[in-house]
């Protein structure tokens, strides 16, 4: 019998601890499939961040280091500088990458550090129980914006791809989503490209994946996927924000 669906080799057998309907699991799978397809499992080193995905080191079959909150790109810089022949990626949430780690994000991009960043934007701090994130939408209710995010008082969400597209060093920036099959396919292609870029020495490549947090959004998994379409994507439009090697250059 032909096997038509199997677990990627780059994923371990450890059961994922993510909540039902959380798209962290899909994103893990996409990254693992890409690692399999590129045949880079043996030379890949991952950097886990602080957030719901902190235990990514248990889920991927590759060497892993767990970084302090926000510091994954700096740790990845050290790993990559130590051995440029290795494939180095970070896996970070929005609180990690766009609040406490903003400086590390911007500067690793500015240095065109030859690493791959998987940025999971679920508009909330998942792990700590649903506080307002730098990416929380205007008027969105969270534990620390119980009356809705009041942009007058607390400021506006940060659009990471748009922000980084002004950083000369950033080589490839794309925002994708995993809320339906078509988008999942595109997300995988973008992740593959972000890894391939590193193999080709092209420098800093970041894929922002618009993700869900049904638990802290207070929505069923199905409703959460709908929320991505109706609320998240209008604020965070999908697409390639920068690709310095593409024909016609940058968007």
């Amino acid at each position: 019998m032909d096997v038509v669906f199997k677990k990627p080799h780059a994923l371990t057998d450890a059961p994922l601890h993510y909540c039902p309907g959380c798209t962290h699991g899909i994103i893990h799978r996409l990254v693992a499939e890409v690692i399999d397809e590129l045949g880079i499992e043996g030379e890949t080193i991952g950097v886990a961040s602080v957030g719901c995905s902190v235990m990514a080191y248990d889920y991927f079959n590759v060497d892993f280091v767990q970084a302090a909150h926000g510091r994954a790109p700096a740790v990845a810089t050290g790993v990559k500088r130590s051995d440029p022949s290795k494939v180095v990626f970070t896996y970070q949430g929005d609180g990690d990458l766009a609040a406490i780690g903003t400086a590390e994000t911007v500067h690793s991009a500015a240095r065109r550090e030859n690493i791959t960043v998987i940025f999971v934007n679920n508009a909330i701090y998942g792990m700590t129980g649903g506080q307002m994130a730098p990416t929380t939408l205007p008027n969105m209710v969270t534990q620390t914006s119980p009356y809705g995010r009041n942009v007058e008082a607390v400021g506006y969400p940060i659009k990471v791809c748009e922000l980084l597209s002004e950083v000369d060093g950033a080589a490839y920036l794309e925002r994708v989503a995993v809320n339906n099959v078509a988008n999942i396919r595109k997300a995988k292609a973008a992740i593959k490209k972000a890894f391939q870029n590193q193999l080709d020495g092209k420098g800093f490549s970041l894929v922002e994946v618009v993700s869900t947090c049904p638990t802290n959004w207070g929505l069923t998994p199905a409703k959460a996927l709908e929320f991505v379409e109706t609320d998240m994507l209008p604020y965070y439009p999908l697409g390639v924000y920068k690709d310095i090697y593409a024909e016609g250059g940058e968007k």
Binding site: T12, E41, G42, E43, T44, I45, V47, A48, V54, M55, Y57, D58, F60, N61, V62, D63, F64, V65, Q66, A67, A68, R71, A74, V75, A76, T77, G78, V79, K80, R81, S82, D83, K86, A103, E104, V106, H107
Partner: protein, 352 residues
Amino acid sequence: MGEKVLMKGNEAIAEAAIRAGCRHYFGYPITPQTEVAAYMSKRMPKIGGTFLQAESEIAAINMVIGVSSTGKRVMTSSSSPGISLKQEGISYLAGCDLPALVVNVERGGPGLGGIQPSQSDYWQATKAGGHGDYHNLVLAPASVQEMAALTIKGFELADKYGMVAMILADGTMGQMMEPVEIDDIEIKTVDKPWALTGTGMKREHNIVNSLYLKPDLLEIKNFERYEKYAAIERDEVMYEEYLMDDAEYCIVAFGISARVAKNAINAARAEGIKVGMLRPITLWPFPKDALLARADQCKAFISVEMSMGQMIEDVELAIKCKKPVYLCNRVGGMIPSPEEVLAKIKEVGGAN
């Protein structure tokens, strides 16, 4: 044997690090340690190493974590305010049992403080400046030659025990020029089977991590780490004694304070006062037993420090408060003069 060359303390650290096989340096500019970075920025590109000026001390220490997790020797240097920023990373290094060399060329504090020499980060260095139960190996050089020697020793100890070795120097040590001899050393490498080198599809994946959500496991990790610390306290204590054989008074001082104190001791001896010195070279592990061994012989101890009195507590604990311990100090970037130390010796002599 190498030849003697005239070098600044900061440069001696950088050159010694290179001789010790360190090929990765990350830092952020701050006075009075800038020469370390300047030296590294010149040398590293020529020997296939990495010099990277990070966006902050926080980023720099995390880059150190990255290199260290791959098993290679790596260092960063800074001065007091920058070392404060590195504390989270130092705590992670401790929690991951990763080796690294961290250099603190101290200046006066707190806050932005000043840029003149100080020893007021003693507590931060020796008592775990970041969160959690841990120690750093803390080495306190008192000459340019020792800046070099302890840098090499620091890398070796860090690798041997899987932890941070910190050079706790001060602005004078960093800026002072002295002849120094740095031999080409034989690099003692340590097996690092835990290092992240890629599985090569040949082994289980390695994980460098400090997270243990199960409290019983985290407790075991802490207990194990403290067994390692106990071995270090037993085996790695370093100190120098000066004129202690017949001493009735014992000065305890490290770094530049010890050099000043030596002059004062010589002057006091000329006047017939029997005073000597115990100079800790490792501040952690602290030479507790060596001090206790002098507690019956001496009438009093004097802690000479460029802080409001930080090491003095360790002296009191070491001698189990058997004898009085006096403080002779200047702070804020001021250095005690031999005359001030001599006056203190006489005052203590008069009272005891």
